[in-house]
């Protein structure tokens, strides 16, 4: 769905995370955690390609998105201007009704995809723990910017990303990090729970997504289940497929 939305605000959230808030009543009702939108400023070809925006929260008719503060679109997204969205894209996350303990994990600054997920988990009465590991490249996301219902743990680069207790507590895990971090996560789960069950851990795969709708194949990844597209089968993939 291609829609024209009006920009309400364009603000720095933290570090290199910029937020852009738009009015989009239908989308605010339908967009789900795990999904994203592709945005561009109409009538401008610099930048040419659409950019990935990740929903952070919705309020009434409005949606607040996160995007890279260094992206050239930021300078074009001034309040009152039109933003052309292709949305909603990607596969929505639905919590299993048995999954009451949700463990969110981020390695470095890539936290945006977990925030909307955290809101949804809290709203549905689930317990949420967020583990953030500080890396060289990025400090720790400030707790003040998170819903207060979240239990927030931080670690650093010399420590394990998640300890065995957290892994044992969790009914479902959602993680954002590098491929190396996902390998580490896979090993940690194998260790703590002896095996990595399907539908237990899902990880956000970072990719350039020029078209968002399965047309350009630029976001193809090799998954254990064959040729897969980040924009259609992801961006959250089952850890066992990666």
């Amino acid at each position: 769905m291609q829609i024209q939305t009006r920009i309400i605000a364009n603000e720095r959230l933290w570090a290199n995370i910029q937020t852009i808030t738009v009015t989009a009543p239908d989308l605010a009702r339908t967009i789900r955690p795990g999904q994203f939108v592709l945005a561009r400023a109409p009538n401008n070809f610099d930048p040419y390609l659409r950019r990935v925006l990740i929903p952070l929260q919705t309020r009434d008719d409005q949606i607040q998105f996160a995007m890279d503060a260094a992206d050239p679109l930021v300078a074009r997204a001034y309040p009152d201007a039109i933003l052309d969205l292709l949305a909603p894209l990607g596969r929505a996350i639905h919590f299993d009704s048995n999954a009451r303990h949700i463990l969110l994990a981020t390695d470095g600054a890539r936290i945006a995809p977990l925030i909307f997920l955290a809101h949804a988990a809290i709203q549905s009465g689930r317990a949420v723990v967020l583990v953030a590991r500080q890396t060289n490249a990025s400090p720790i996301f400030p707790a003040a910017l998170l819903p207060e219902e979240i239990e927030y743990h931080t670690t650093n680069e010399n420590e394990a990303w998640m300890d065995a207790d957290a892994l044992a507590w969790a009914d479902a895990i959602y993680a954002c990090g590098t491929r190396a971090a996902y390998r580490e996560l896979f090993d940690a789960i194998s260790h703590a729970r002896y095996r990595v069950p399907r539908e237990f851990a899902r990880v956000w795969m970072e990719a350039a997504m020029p078209c968002g709708v399965g047309e350009c194949f630029a976001c193809a990844i090799e998954s254990a289940r064959g040729f897969a597209l980040t924009c259609q089968h992801g961006p959250f993939f089952d850890l066992v497929d990666i």
Binding site: P47, Y48, L49, A208, C211, E215, C216, F217, F227
Partner: protein
């Protein structure tokens, strides 16, 4: 009035379009397009390129050219149901991974229902004449050949002599960027490509080769389509514009289809 466009004139199998806008897409397209062209398929699955695959540029982007596709057989199987029912002609694009792939690729399409034509993706390091001859020997399907800007004019006539029915001008120009100390090669997309294609197409039209010419590269608007038709193109192919503004490409198709129906 209905100006239909014949892309394989005087050939045993015709390739007739209702209007001159061809859309490149791997999926189905419900707008009133003149023809659908698939992404180029290879004999075997082609793995994705190393990252970064997409490099932003002002006015366009550079795409690492070793683009992934699932291989011709899997792709055909996945789509042949839709193709059989399609009233819009389906043109399957092909690229070779080895010099003798062409006959195999063509033979696979010869038995695929609903395929109306083939588009060969050539480049200056491929033996174009041999590729076309192999394909011609394996199929009676109309053959379009998509050529690179650098040698399109030089080899246009030889392609037709070897058995191609029409020429597509052109493939995206090649480019490279240095990213984190490494050279990343690819092809370039966006509106900036268009004047280069228009210039080349118009020069090839001046050769009066007697074969249909299809323009491809950077087309974004109805005005762009009309400019190419006035510069000597019989039809146009649109791909990238769909990514940035699918709604306007759909409108463009409707407008061109409407103008043809008046």
């Amino acid at each position: 009035m209905n100006f239909s466009i014949e892309l394989a004139p005087n050939w045993k199998r015709g390739l007739t379009l209702n209007h001159p806008v061809m859309i490149v897409t791997p999926s189905w397209d419900s707008s009133p397009v003149g023809a659908i062209v698939t992404p180029p398929l290879t004999a075997r699955l082609r793995a994705r390129a190393a990252d970064p695959r997409v490099i932003d540029l002002p006015g366009g982007f550079l795409l690492n050219s070793r683009a992934a596709n699932p291989g011709v057989s899997q792709f055909v199987e996945q789509h042949q149901r839709a193709w059989e029912k399609s009233v819009t002609p389906i043109i399957v694009a092909l690229a070779a991974q080895a010099a003798d792939d062409w006959a195999k690729l063509a033979a696979r399409l010869e038995r695929a229902p609903g395929v109306s034509g083939i588009e060969l993706h050539l480049n200056p390091v491929v033996d174009a004449v041999s590729a076309i001859q192999q394909t011609r020997a394996a199929t009676d399907l109309p053959i379009l050949t998509k050529l690179d800007l650098e040698n399109a004019r030089a080899i246009a006539r030889a392609c037709l002599d070897a058995g191609a029915n029409a020429l597509v001008i052109s493939r995206a120009p090649r480019g490279a960027r240095v990213i984190e100390g490494k050279i990343r090669r690819g092809r370039m997309y966006g509106p900036f490509v268009q004047p280069m294609v228009l210039n080349a197409l118009n020069e090839i039209a001046a050769l009066k080769l007697g074969a249909p010419l299809i323009a491809c590269g950077g087309i974004h608007s109805v005005e762009d389509v009309r400019a190419f038709l006035s510069a000597g193109a019989d039809a146009v192919e649109i791909d990238t514009a769909q990514w940035v503004d699918a709604a306007s490409v759909a409108r463009l198709c409707e407008e061109i289809a409407g103008a043809r129906d008046d």
